[in-house]
């Protein structure tokens, strides 16, 4: 059963960009049960909206939106000063672009009950997405509250990729890439994991893959896309195999702090209710971030002689990445182990693997989000416990080894799909408009050449 499904995934990947596939024409022979979820919510006994849950979800949505400007400063501080505005611009334009894409058709593709691969266009323009709860996703908040919460995830995921191709992408190509990537990569993968009838939500006898707040959908997805993009685009000109010194480390710290703050909405908000599970997710999120930041600092102290602020905040962000899929399923002691594990793995990836392989992942989008996301998704299969979340499952250490396999399938499917589709999108765009900035533009800096603005003045 599982193999058949994976074979089908591979098939669909090949033709994923073919127009028309978005419609419901792809048959769903293996998941007939999902069609039943399509009944309009008003027809059922309308569930009651809970004011506390709604308040927390709206607040969480605002928190998650705040992460994207946070990411802008986190990344912006790391680049050379001639490129900071390009990073800030790319993040802010995504807030604008994806917000609109999401209400027009993105939410519908990701969440309307379609087939196992992708939703339909039934909810395009939010038609049918009203103020009554849609009980398949969230029984106690208005459907639009769930929709806008998810919009913020759709914004930050493509923004994470920016770190991999920073300082060398043409802005027009960036905008085109992001619209295509959000539509053909993010929306289907979100549907697989969270959408009604999505294939990873229910893997038959294996149960479903656990991804509480987006370890596979957000972090692995973006991390792998970043990896592919930095390989396709090539290195920055003058890249000497080391990172350039960040031009503004205080900005990096500010951005990391904004990310940590916003992440409470990301993880705790994913409980979709103001309840005990939200509290538990909040606690493990903070714990994992703290432990990972601590671990990275200690590693640097041991390896390089001094702990750095850059390393500490990188560790904290890696911890947040890793706890994301697990946050609704693990208790606090496993969260500490997840935090330690992610810093060790990401530290190795960033400090040893990257220089050894020589790829130019400018700001470590893959090293932190890709690697951290994979560890988090697999760790969920190790440490998940039904004592934390009855709706979840037990992991390997709680007597259910198949959960680890399920997690591995979700990770593998995401890596494969994201990698292949990103590559196709890149190739098409490169043939049509060219993706990389010209040498002259790259040398002068993207701020002046792509936006005609400069961030800093020397005089006055």
């Amino acid at each position: 059963m599982m193999l058949v499904r994976l074979a089908l995934v591979a098939l669909v990947m090949v033709g994923a960009l073919a127009p028309g596939l978005l419609a419901e024409q792809t048959p769903a022979p293996l998941a007939p049960a999902v069609a039943t979820a399509a009944a309009p919510p008003v027809a059922e006994a309308a569930p009651k909206v809970d004011s506390g849950d709604t308040a927390w979800l709206l607040a969480s949505s605002a928190l998650v939106l705040f992460m994207t400007p946070g990411l802008a400063f986190f990344y912006g501080g790391m680049v050379r000063k001639k490129n900071i505005l390009s990073i800030l611009m790319q993040c802010m334009i995504l807030c604008c672009l994806i917000s609109v894409q999401w209400v027009l058709f993105g939410y519908s593709l990701a969440f309307s009950p379609g087939n196992w691969f992708i939703g339909s266009l039934d909810w395009a323009g939010l038609s049918g997405v009203g103020l009554e709860p849609f009980k398949d996703y969230s029984a106690t908040v208005p459907h639009q509250a769930f929709m806008i919460f998810q919009a913020m995830f759709a914004i930050i995921t493509p923004a994470l990729i920016i770190g991999a191709f920073a300082e060398r992408i043409k802005f027009s190509a960036f905008v085109a890439f992001m619209v295509l990537w959000a539509t053909f990569v993010y929306d289907p993968v979100a549907h697989w994991v969270w959408g009604a009838g999505g294939m990873l939500r229910d893997l038959g006898s294996l149960g479903g893959a656990l991804d509480f707040a987006g370890g596979t959908v957000v972090h692995i997805n973006a991390g792998v896309a970043g990896f592919v993009m930095c390989l396709c685009l090539g290195k920055r000109r003058g890249f000497n195999g080391k990172t350039n010194p960040p031009h503004n480390l205080p900005f990096v710290v500010l951005g990391a702090a904004m990310l940590w703050f916003g992440w409470f909405g990301f993880n705790s908000g994913s409980a979709l209710a103001a309840n005990g599970l939200a509290v538990s997710a909040f606690v493990v999120t903070n714990t994992a971030a703290a432990m990972a930041g601590l671990t990275w600092a200690v590693l640097e102290w041991l390896v390089n002689g001094k702990p750095t602020i850059f390393g500490t905040v990188t560790g904290a962000v890696a911890g947040l990445v890793a706890i994301t899929p697990a946050s609704g399923f693990v208790s606090v002691l496993p969260a500490i182990l997840i935090g330690i594990g992610v810093s060790v793995l990401c530290f190795l990836a960033v400090a040893y693997l990257k220089p050894k392989l020589g790829y130019d992942d400018s700001l470590d989008a893959f090293g932190v989000h890709g690697i951290g996301g994979m560890w988090g998704a697999l760790a969920t299969g190790l440490f998940a416990s039904k004592l934390v979340n009855d709706a979840g499952a037990n992991g390997l250490f709680y007597g259910n080894p198949t959960q680890l396999l399920t997690q591995a399938i979700a990770v593998g499917a995401t890596i494969l799909y994201s990698g292949v589709c990103t590559f196709i999108i890149y190739k098409v765009l490169d043939a049509v408009i060219g993706v990389r900035a010209t040498e002259k533009d790259e040398v002068i800096g993207l701020d002046l050449t792509q936006h005609r603005e400069g961030a800093y003045t020397i005089l006055e």
């Binding site: 001639k82 003058g238 040398v443 400069g454 005089l459």
Partner: protein, 113 residues
């Protein structure tokens, strides 16, 4: 003794430094400057208001050398900074009257190196 002043493209600084080390010129002061020659600067736009002729970022090097090091220093800077495009920069060589090492109060050619 001469004072070599060079104005170069900021992104060529690493190459120029590497060439100078090869020529065993290890003393160097670097600062950021703004300016333009024939390029006439760049246009920038702020909230729709276009400003033309803005000054370009450049890097200025000052290197004090003994006479036998003047040519190697010039060669190294040219080798590191030359792209063939307008805006590569200029080198000025000035006579230098005195040079004093603060730590020891030594003066003259010994104080440079």
């Amino acid at each position: 003794m001469k004072l070599v002043i060079a104005i170069i493209q900021p992104h060529r600084l690493e190459q120029v430094k590497a060439e100078l080390y090869k020529a065993e010129v290890n003393l160097l002061t670097v600062f950021e400057v703004l300016g333009h020659g024939r390029q006439k600067g760049v246009a920038e736009v702020y909230r729709g208001m276009k400003e033309t002729g803005n000054l370009l970022h450049k890097v200025c090097l000052e290197i004090a050398v003994n006479d036998n090091f003047v040519e190697p220093t010039i060669d190294a800077i040219v080798k590191g900074a030359q792209t063939g495009e307008t805006g590569d920069g200029k080198i000025f060589v000035l006579p230098m009257e005195r040079c004093i090492r603060i730590r020891t109060r030594e003066e003259g050619t010994v104080a440079i190196g």
